[in-house]
């Protein structure tokens, strides 16, 4: 198969080839205005019909508590390394230590951190690292409450990949990019929220 591919590349007219890799000047970072970036992130996440709020680092537990009351969620799965200081009384939190999938699916929701945010597209990136846990816990429950630090929000998409690449090593982590709750456009091309992933997404930006 490789021999055939090599012949195809090398035989006949090679055509007009451009220089390997481009110097096309696409934008690789925003203008550096942090307040604007965070505002844009909040706005763009909300446009996907997710709910977005702000809180301080010391106020996470209270913010979480209030949000869970509003959503009526009482049993939450959390990554094994999530700090106790994020947890509020009155809610049952279960740490994921290779929990059975049916247990996870039976929870009211998941509370997690995030690796990165992308302002331009309103995207949250999970990499299974700090405060995020394995992929299954942010997928099976119907509700996701995600806490992201303002300093982890980047401006544009290429910045996100550049940042993720700084920790690039084999084996790589598994990445999940989340832009709003689960949705489909399969019925008459209208975006409808809520198919297989969490149907409700709440986000707190910690400043």
């Amino acid at each position: 198969m490789l021999a055939k591919i090599r012949t195809a590349i090398n035989t006949g007219d090679r055509g007009d080839f451009h220089e390997a890799h481009t110097s096309a000047p696409y934008i690789t970072n925003d203008d550096g205005n942090v307040a604007v970036r965070i505002e844009l992130f909040a706005h763009r996440v909300a446009e996907y019909k997710a709910w977005v709020g702000h809180c301080t680092a010391a106020g996470i537990a209270q913010a979480v508590a209030e949000r869970l009351v509003i959503r009526g969620k009482k049993r939450m799965v959390i990554p094994s390394d999530l700090p106790d200081s994020w947890l509020s009384p009155g809610v049952e939190y279960i740490r994921d230590s290779q929990l059975d999938r049916t247990v996870i699916a039976g929870m009211d929701g998941v509370l997690s951190g995030a690796a990165l945010g992308i302002a331009q597209t309103g995207t949250i990136v999970l990499d299974g690292g700090r405060f995020q846990g394995r992929r299954m816990i942010s997928l099976l429950p119907d509700y996701h409450l995600c806490i992201i630090r303002a300093q982890d929000i980047v401006g544009v998409v290429p910045e996100a990949f550049a940042q993720l690449a700084t920790t690039m090593q084999i084996p790589m982590q598994p990445y999940t990019f989340i832009s709003g709750p689960s949705a489909t456009s399969d019925i008459e091309l209208n975006r409808v929220e809520g198919v297989h992933g969490p149907r409700t997404l709440d986000v707190f930006i910690v400043e």
Partner: protein
Amino acid sequence: MKKPESVIIELAPRFEVGAKAAVQNTQLRRNMGKATQTIRGKRAGVVDELADWESLRVAGQHIKDDVMQHLDTYLIQLEATVTQSGGHVHWAKDAHEANEIVTRLIKATGSTEIIKVKSLTTDEIRLNEALELAGITAIETDLAELIIQLAHEKSSHILVPAIHKNRSEIRALFQKSMNLPDLTDEPKELAAAARQFLRDKFMSVRVATSGANFAIAETGSVCVVESEGNGRMCLTMPEVLITVMGIEKILPRWQDLGVFMQLLPRSSTGERMNPYTSIWTGVHADDGPQEFHLVLLDNGRSDVLADAVGRQTLHCIRCSACINVCPVYERTGGHAYGSVYPGPIGAILTPQLVGTAHADSLPYASSLCGACYDVCPVRINIPEVLVHLRGKVVAEKQTQPQSWFDGENLGMKAMATTFAHRTTYELAQHAGQLAQWPFVHDGYIENGPGPLGKWTAMRDFPAIPAQSFRDWWRERQRDE
């Protein structure tokens, strides 16, 4: 000569025949018109938002040029990085080999059913049919694919396979096949029905298959872009994951995703970003499938690569922007193309994958208006390839003995001879002026004689004027 196994739908009529039937279906035309208009508007909105869109397109084109030029190197690199990360790589030269590999891998798990992420590549090789023969049930988990599977129909769009169906048609289908008599046609409720229907499968089926939007040679990472979460389910919950990927889907470097993850979502669903993107690298300890297989599929792609003009077809990232903007597709829908790849990209990809002899009507399924080229995120010059393929179709016909007696071919040859010299051209022009009079009305021929009749059935042919440009020029010079 290649056989049209896979890709094209067997016994599908020629494009012009399929199209004629399709344009007479008013429900279909209404559904298609509404859907393509919606998506065109959304795409234009999010594309205009980016000041560097043209730079991104050029970057996308250059990266893909580089991929094609060094495809062998990148494939070997990918094999090494995937293997290093705990995955297994398999090479399949055609659909048959790919299906055999996948079947063997599934059988080794002892599972008799699999869950599938929507994948054009597995549609192309007709994986589901091959698995069925081996006693394995493939469950499509994408909403539109599920609709198509339940309705026993064929896809009509690469991104939204059920685009030809409206909500009330989908409701009727779900009421019947999911036994939900009280279901309404509210899209939210229809989506919820699919969620319920598939949840058990996600929780229990041990093997999944997927395609790949991108694979990074540098890191061995594979990327799947989706909306519903069915992709995440299939990529996370099973024990074994088998990904079938066309060899052209490779990207050299991790940072190339920064370009393509802007081009693809905006071009396909007209969103700034699709809801979910999963990127995994081999197997991850205690997270997701612990056995990962990557099947690299050629299936005609190296033949496309060998054609200097056609090669750019392999740049395609399957976004469907060209399909949504095509005036021909909007009117005929996808089934008329008789291939898993409809629309402008299908009109150039299908004939190259199966050989022009087996899909000779497709390069003509276009008015060459060029709208597809304008929207293509990797700048594939689709009209150029269409014309190139038309040339191939004609050249192939001319090698066959029956072409010696073919009216069109004889006529074209006669025309070429006549037009090659000034004297014969002018003679023919004058002869035409005399001969055309019974057919001319107001300066146009509306019903041409003989073979010209086919051409004038759809459009009027301008009559040869009483004074040609050459006559006028000579007269002008005489007068001076």
